[in-house]
């Protein structure tokens, strides 16, 4: 099947990891108001699978008894949800105002150049996904970069290579 952009979409829910689905099922079962908690179900799904592929959205829609279009409408509305797989590490550049006025955009450009990817893209070797996020509330450390959950504060353009190399070396 093709989606609206003409890309093929895999809607085969049988391809999903059974163990993870069991956990998701148990979570959905535990909810009284399933429809009203769609966003919570999607959070759970994303934390289990890492992202929300189309077949998982369809699975959730059927499980709750909602049209798949409604589920997709919600997924695509909120920036926290991603429909694309992520690299091993996610590099999140804070683009909140406090970080911006201290040059976050320059650092973001340096990451893009160094990793050769755009915003919300994964590197070819699947090591990193680069994305921008809004204020993480550590404005005192601006500009701030998160690699997975680790916070780097007062980041300079010169440190970009160092940070990336550190993770490349670890693996």
């Amino acid at each position: 099947m093709k989606n609206t952009k003409g890309k093929f979409v895999d809607l085969d829910t049988k391809k999903l990891d059974i163990e993870k689905l069991k956990e998701l099922d148990a979570y959905i079962e535990s909810l009284e108001d399933k429809e009203g908690n769609l966003i919570h179900v999607l959070h759970k799904g994303q934390s289990l699978f890492g992202y929300l592929p189309e077949n998982l959205q369809l699975y959730i829609a059927r499980k709750i008894g909602l049209p798949a279009s409604k589920v997709n409408g919600v997924v695509s509305f909120y920036s926290f949800f991603t429909q694309k797989p992520r690299g091993k590490h996610t590099i999140s550049m804070c683009m909140g105002t406090a970080c911006y006025v201290k040059g976050a955009d320059k650092i973001f450009d340096a990451f893009k150049a160094e990793l050769n990817v755009g915003n919300n893209e994964m590197t070819e070797d699947k090591m990193f996904t680069l994305k921008d996020i809004r204020c993480v509330g550590a404005c005192g450390l601006a500009p701030v970069v998160l690699v997975d959950d680790k916070v780097y504060g007062h980041v300079t353009v010169e440190q970009v290579k160092e940070i990336i190399d550190k993770y490349r070396k670890e693996d």
């Binding site: 509305f77 909140g96 970080c99 404005c139």
Partner: protein, 589 residues
């Protein structure tokens, strides 16, 4: 707290935790145990002290000594010197930037002197994960008083008389709002705490939730009693994992002690609270959008009326209040409306918390009485501009607000006066900009934010903000002209008049206000007089290659001992070359 002779208070707010305060806490615990002091000295994990730019912060009580920028490696020295020998660790004390003297008590620091803490009263003083500590600081006394001594009408009267207005941006009187919900017919009603804090660069609400979660739960229960609601919901952004965790712990503890749940204080009043998570959409901070999001839908706003007070969550009467608004409720109940209304200005009572950030020396949370001037906030509390640079402007109201310049710095700030000078109170974000900041780029930044966050429901906002953004992009790419400036103003005013919700109605503000105060910067772009990239002066460059090595995008080329050249199309204007050059050969754009 009483069995210990000394307390080591370590900030575990988001900023300090990011700077390894967790390890500092562990090191303290281990080291104290090793030395056999763990029965005498308690390590307390607290919420945000507010002085985030100096974090991680460690405070030793009862000596009231305040250590700043502490690292895990400093723990041993603090224990050996201060705790065991009773000597101060001088090097970790805060140095007053003006007087160049070390200060050991926080009350003597300019940053704290002018502050008046009501909403932040407990932040940094108690362990937010321990309900006993909250109770020790008058916690749940206000709820007890309300449930056992007061009628719902009395509660609403006190809040009305106090003059408390909504801190989420609108400034609507909280007591009046509660009255509307109370008078709306219906046996099922809701209290919602808006913890979506969407303004990027603002972190007041998060710090309150992380540092003093019970104060919000207690206030919600009071609002429930006053309005006739038995259910409360905190709508909180998923990007705030620590605040979510602290709230969950607080709710569990309150339930266990019977302070939430059925028949609270034997009064027959039932009230319980649950959390609902957001998923990253700025517009969900708008109350109707927020309610749709809570119902599991796309967070699109709808027309008001009906107001949530008549028909809100699940179509029932609902009170929506901001975190900081709620944080003021318990002190008002305990100390009375006269006390609260004696603080502030004619129209705006009490205090306001600002998240002071950007190019200012003392970054952090600042709570001041309404009517304090921006000059006091930025230059006294904030310690002035970083690196001795010149102040240029301050943005309040986030992406909905505008810039305030030097000439208005002495205006006493309240809801009304800040509107008169062309900005708005907003939720409390305050971003300071210096001479290096390009105001057109700043306006573009905000518009990029709003056009990205526009929910798409109404055309003026969806298409209009996009077109405005394109014009700004054209200008900054030096492809625009003077006509574009007129178009920006026309389009901006049109969007303001026709957009459906507050997001669109205010989205053009950052552009319009920077155009008003910095027209010359826009004209420089429109007349294409600006350059975007750095350049190298071939006369001065000796070919040391330092700049080429520092360039993160490798756009500088040249042989050793020959003048280097910057590829202007690839330059991202990061300034790395400018910083490393020892021969003044790099020219700023």
């Amino acid at each position: 707290m009483s069995n210990y002779r000394m307390h080591v208070m370590v900030c575990a707010g988001t900023g300090c935790e990011a700077a390894e305060s967790k390890i500092i806490i562990e090191n303290f615990k281990e080291e104290l145990k090793l030395k056999g002091y763990d029965q005498e000295i308690q390590v307390v994990k607290t919420g945000c002290f507010g002085f985030c730019g100096q974090g991680p912060i460690v405070k030793i009580q009862p000596d009231n000594v305040f250590y700043v920028k502490v690292t895990p490696a400093d723990v041993k020295e603090i224990i050996e010197e201060h705790i065991i020998k009773g000597r101060r660790v001088e090097r970790l004390l805060f140095e007053d930037p003006k007087e160049k003297v070390k200060l050991e008590k926080h009350d003597n620091m300019d940053f704290y002197k002018k502050q008046y803490r009501i909403a932040l009263r407990n932040c940094g003083f108690i362990n937010p994960e321990d309900i006993e500590e909250y109770i020790a600081f008058e916690g749940y006394e206000a709820l007890g008083k309300v449930l056992t001594e007061m009628q719902p009408e009395d509660v609403i009267e006190i809040v009305k008389a106090s003059g408390l207005r909504g801190r989420g941006g609108g400034g609507f009187p909280a007591g009046v709002k509660w009255g509307f919900t109370k008078n709306s017919p219906g046996d099922e009603k809701y209290v919602i705490c808006n913890a979506d804090e969407g303004d990027p660069g603002a972190f007041m609400d998060r710090s309150i939730l992380e540092g003093d979660p019970h104060s919000i739960l207690e206030a919600m229960a009071i609002a429930g009693y006053a309005t006739g609601a038995n259910s409360g919901i905190v709508y909180i952004r998923a990007e705030y994992p620590l605040a979510i965790k602290r709230l969950e712990i607080a709710i569990d503890q309150a339930r266990e002690m019977g302070l939430l749940g059925e028949n609270i204080f034997e009064s027959g009043f039932d009230f319980d609270i649950i959390l609902k998570l957001g998923a990253g959409a700025f517009v969900c901070g708008e109350e109707t959008a927020l309610i749709h999001s809570m119902e599991g839908c796309r967070g699109e706003p709808t027309k008001k009326p009906p107001f949530p007070a008549e028909s809100g969550y699940r179509g029932k009467p609902t009170t929506v209040n901001n975190v900081e608004t709620l944080a003021n409720v318990c002190p008002i109940i305990l100390k009375g409306s006269e006390w609260f209304s004696s603080i502030g200005t004619e129209t705006s009572k009490g205090t306001k918390v600002f998240a002071l950030a950007g190019k200012v020396n003392n970054v952090g949370l600042v709570e001041v009485p309404m009517g304090t001037t921006l000059r006091e906030i930025i230059f006294e509390i904030g310690g002035g501009i970083c690196d001795g640079k010149k102040f240029k402007a301050v943005q309040t109201g986030g992406p909905s607000g505008g810039v305030i310049t030097e000439k208005d710095l002495d205006t006493p700030i309240d809801y009304e006066s800040i509107k008169e000078i062309g900005s708005m109170m907003g939720s409390g974000g305050m971003i300071v900009m210096d001479e290096d900041n390009d105001m057109v780029e700043i306006a573009k930044f905000y518009l990029d934010f709003t056009q990205d966050e526009s929910c798409g429901k109404c055309t003026p906002c969806r298409i209009g903000t996009k077109r405005m953004y394109e014009i700004l992009e054209r200008l900054t790419n030096l492809e625009g002209d003077m006509e574009d400036l007129e178009k920006l103003v026309d389009l901006g005013n049109m969007i303001k008049d026709t957009a459906l919700c507050g997001l669109g109605q205010t989205a053009p503000n950052p552009v319009l206000s920077t155009m008003r105060y910095f027209p010359e910067e826009y004209e420089a772009y429109a007349k294409r007089e600006k350059t975007k990239s750095y350049r190298i002066d071939p006369e001065k460059c000796i070919g040391c290659t330092l700049c080429a090595k520092a360039c993160p995008v490798n756009c500088i080329t040249g042989k050793v001992k020959e003048a280097h050249v910057i590829d202007e199309s690839a330059c991202i204007a990061c300034g790395a070359c400018f910083t490393v050059c020892k021969f003044d050969a790099v020219i700023k754009p």
